[in-house]
Amino acid sequence: MTALLVLIPAALFLGLLGLGGFLWALRSGQFEDLDGAAERILHDD
């Protein structure tokens, strides 16, 4: 059962990493112009 002492923190850490990533994206305005982002990828410059 000692494996749990490593695995549970590891699972929580990875989850927190994902959460942090999402919150960062939210804060830096990645979701502010979804329509524009979809169109911008078609521009080749």
Binding site: I8, L19, L26, D33, L34, D35, E39, R40
Partner: protein, 733 residues
């Protein structure tokens, strides 16, 4: 009469007075926010950004396609705002500066709070559920010791408690607000269930208990936050209509000074008695009297009628009217808040407030549901504690189980999911849903009131006797017409197909075009007897020396499917009326043609609103279908509203639904879809109720374990979501 030479006018790229909107920081970087008109696609975004990036002074230019706004930053010492904006105006985009502080960004902030809460709840729900599965598996196999179970409970508590404290805030705040006002809302049982479940679970964990509800409390929050977020996004899509109307108001007026000099003044500095100059293509910034010049104006913003009006000295013009042909000077009678446009803004804002009084189905359900839930949980607690002889802790656990089981997970998700699926479906058929509760209101509608111009008709004149005129004659007339902005001339050019414009053609304001001896214009201009009878159509005459004068008749044509759609709607039981600002002799034949017996003509915006109020007072639920700024108050005052997409931006913002295309069919489609949406919402309520009828007795009997609660909660949410998705299946046809 003297004509103002075009050169005397300020050039089109003259600096707009945007000084008040520029913010300059300490590093010398100026920033400015602008709303962009005519922005349609990614191509537009690119053209604007490229044009600005080509300027050395610009440090950042970013167009947001979703909000249609441009955020511009440049080094203040290297360029003036006017030069930069001129480059964009030259591409054909109209820019309107705005103050981001004034536009309420509170809504966007609220969205972010919900999204963050949802992310945290999602993270906690997934991890706590993982731990709970381990506990349930250990219990089932019987080989988990109490120490390990306690450890897992403690870790669950460690994750769940902060998550509940953070992600539950939107519910706690709303519940507290309701409590202070002495009313009950759905957030009260939610908050109670989540908080009690977390607290008793912590108590159980400390006392080495067997059952904890950490997974249920964060899972509940997660599901509810999804529903809440979807709901909120649907609602906030509709930007405030009044806000957009104000953006339409002119930013700067060109005031003619006593010395004849023209200066650009901010609209706030213009007073009655001043004289302002209005260039062709500009909107009149004030209400007032024409003091110099004559020409055609487009008053559709105010009257809704697309046919141009000719104005001369002494005629009255309103703010928002577009000058079509020649420079005008206007003696200011009212500016700013005293103009008719500002009055329409106030009417719209007042009407929108009335609409906010609508109580949504989900909230109406909550009014009955919330007290019932509380009473049941209380009965469970008192029953087991007092009569059942249990200690207070297990009795409280049973009450918590009742709260969790009855919690409106399905209810909270049922309506938003149906709403989102329906909006997606409508979007694919060219209908944009702007109001979150639009479908619910539209489903209850029994009377449809149509505006005429631009709604039943195309909203622009079309040549009706083109077949009777020889093609070369038509082409010659069109080559003259190509030099004019007058809508009749433009209709002639559209009808004639590609023509070469004769740039030497001269436009005489209020009369017509001339090229040598060729003349195109009104009766007087072409020497036709002004007293001879017309047939109700708008007309142009074409005069060629030595040949018979040709009459070109124009009419605003009905949309192709208007008759079919109206008949279909009448047969389906909707009562239909026409309310138009146009003349009776135009409205009457059209109503006859569409077999609509109820019609009104010559209605001003406030009369339309009054008529809608009367209908509402006689117990009718009215949907208004109209376009144009003049309809904005009526759209906002109606029980539900639809607006065609070619309409001015404002009418779109005031309407619950905006449909695209030249057809009327989307109106019927939206009405039918709305009824199906309502049926599905009611079905989902029934499903949620049925599930409660099954589960509540079990919870009251103390048979609901955390495992059972988790399964029941997820399955009911899944069930209502799947039911909502059925809309897609049949709706696709």
């Amino acid at each position: 009469m003297a004509e103002i030479a075009p050169e005397a006018d300020i050039p089109a790229d003259a600096p707009i007075d945007v000084g008040a909107y520029i913010r300059t920081d300490r590093a010398g970087i100026a920033s400015l926010n602008l709303a962009v008109e005519n922005l349609h696609c990614g191509g537009c975004v690119r053209r604007i950004e490229d044009a600005l990036a080509a300027k050395d002074a610009v440090t950042s230019a970013r167009v947001n396609l979703t909000t249609r706004r441009l955020a511009l930053q440049w080094r203040a010492d290297q360029a003036r705002a006017g030069e930069l904006l001129g480059a964009v105006s030259a591409l054909g985009y109209r820019l309107v500066p705005f103050d981001p502080e004034l536009l309420r960004d509170g809504a966007a902030h609220e969205d972010q709070v919900l999204l963050r809460a949802m992310a945290v709840a999602g993270f906690a729900a997934a991890n706590v559920m993982l731990l709970s599965v381990a506990v349930w598996a250990g219990e089932a196999s019987g080989d988990m010791g109490p120490a390990l179970r306690d450890l897992l409970h403690w870790i669950s508590a460690l994750v769940a408690l902060p998550a509940v404290a953070y992600a539950g805030r939107p519910f706690f705040r709303s519940a507290w607000g309701a409590l202070r006002l002495g009313v009950m809302n759905m957030d009260l049982p939610i908050s109670l269930a989540v908080l009690l479940a977390a607290a008793t679970s912590l108590h159980e964990t400390i006392n080495h208990g067997q059952h904890t509800y950490f997974d249920a409390s964060v899972g509940l929050l997660f599901f509810l936050l999804i529903g809440r977020y979807l709901d909120r996004r649907a609602r906030s899509k509709a930007r405030s209509a009044a806000e957009q109307l104000l953006l339409l108001g002119a930013v700067a007026a060109r005031v003619v000074g006593a010395d004849g000099q023209v200066r650009a003044l901010p609209i706030g500095a213009v007073n009655a008695g001043m004289t302002v100059r209005v260039a062709p293509g500009d909107r009149v910034p004030v209400d007032g009297c024409v003091s110099f010049g004559q020409g055609a104006v487009d008053a559709s913003l105010i009257s809704g009628e697309s046919e141009p009006r000719s104005v001369k000295i002494g005629d009255w013009v309103h703010a928002g009217i577009m000058n079509l042909s020649h420079p005008l000077e206007v003696k200011v009678a009212a500016a700013g808040d005293d103009t008719l446009l500002a009055e329409i803004v106030r009417l719209t804002a007042a009407a929108e407030q009335g609409k906010a009084a609508y109580v949504r189905l989900a909230d109406r359900a909550a009014r009955i549901y919330a007290p019932a839930v509380h009473l049941l949980a209380l009965a469970g607690f008192l029953g087991w504690w007092g009569l059942g002889g249990l200690d207070w802790q297990p009795a409280l656990l049973i009450a918590v189980a009742v709260l969790i089981i009855t919690c409106p997970c399905a209810l909270g998700l049922a309506v938003p999911v149906v709403q989102v699926v329906a909006s997606g479906l409508a979007m694919r058929q060219g209908i944009l849903v702007k109001a979150g509760d639009g479908f619910e209101r539209l489903a209850e509608v029994d009377t449809l009131v149509f505006d005429k111009t631009g709604t039943l008709t195309h909203g622009r004149p079309e040549l009706v006797n083109g077949a009777d005129i020889a093609a070369p004659v038509l082409a010659r007339a069109a080559s003259l017409a190509a030099g004019s902005r007058h809508p009749l001339c433009q209709a002639l050019v559209r009808a004639a197909g590609p023509v070469v414009a004769r740039s030497e053609a001269y436009e005489h304001p209020g009369m017509g075009m001339a090229l040598g001896a060729l003349r195109l214009g009104n009766r007087v201009w072409c020497g036709v007897d002004a007293a001879s009878p017309g047939d109700g159509n708008s007309e142009l005459w074409f005069h060629q020396p030595g040949q018979a004068k040709v009459r070109l008749a124009f009419r605003d044509q009905l949309k192709a499917d208007a008759a079919a759609v109206i008949e279909k709607l009448q047969n389906a039981g909707w009562r239909i009326e026409i309310v138009s600002g146009d003349r009776p002799e135009v409205v009457a034949p059209l109503a006859r043609q569409l077999k609509i017996s109820q019609w009104r003509a010559d209605c001003r915006p406030d009369e339309k609103v009054a008529h809608l109020r009367n209908l509402a007072q006689s117990g009718r639920k009215v949907a208004m279908i109209g376009d144009g700024v003049n309809d904005a108050p009526a759209l906002a005052a109606a029980y539900a509203s639809l607006s065609p997409a070619r309409a001015a931006d404002v009418a779109q913002a005031a309407a619950d639904f905006v449909f695209q295309g030249e057809d009327l069919a989307p109106v019927a489609m939206a009405l039918i879809l709305a009824r199906r949406v309502r049926r599905l919402i009611l079905q989902n309520f029934s499903l949620a109720l049925a599930y409660n009828v099954l589960a509540v007795p079990l919870a009251l009997a103390g048979l609901v374990t955390p495992l059972f609660a988790a399964i029941a909660m997820s399955s009911s949410s899944l069930l209502v979501t799947l039911n909502a998705l059925r809309l897609n299946g049949r709706g696709a046809q």
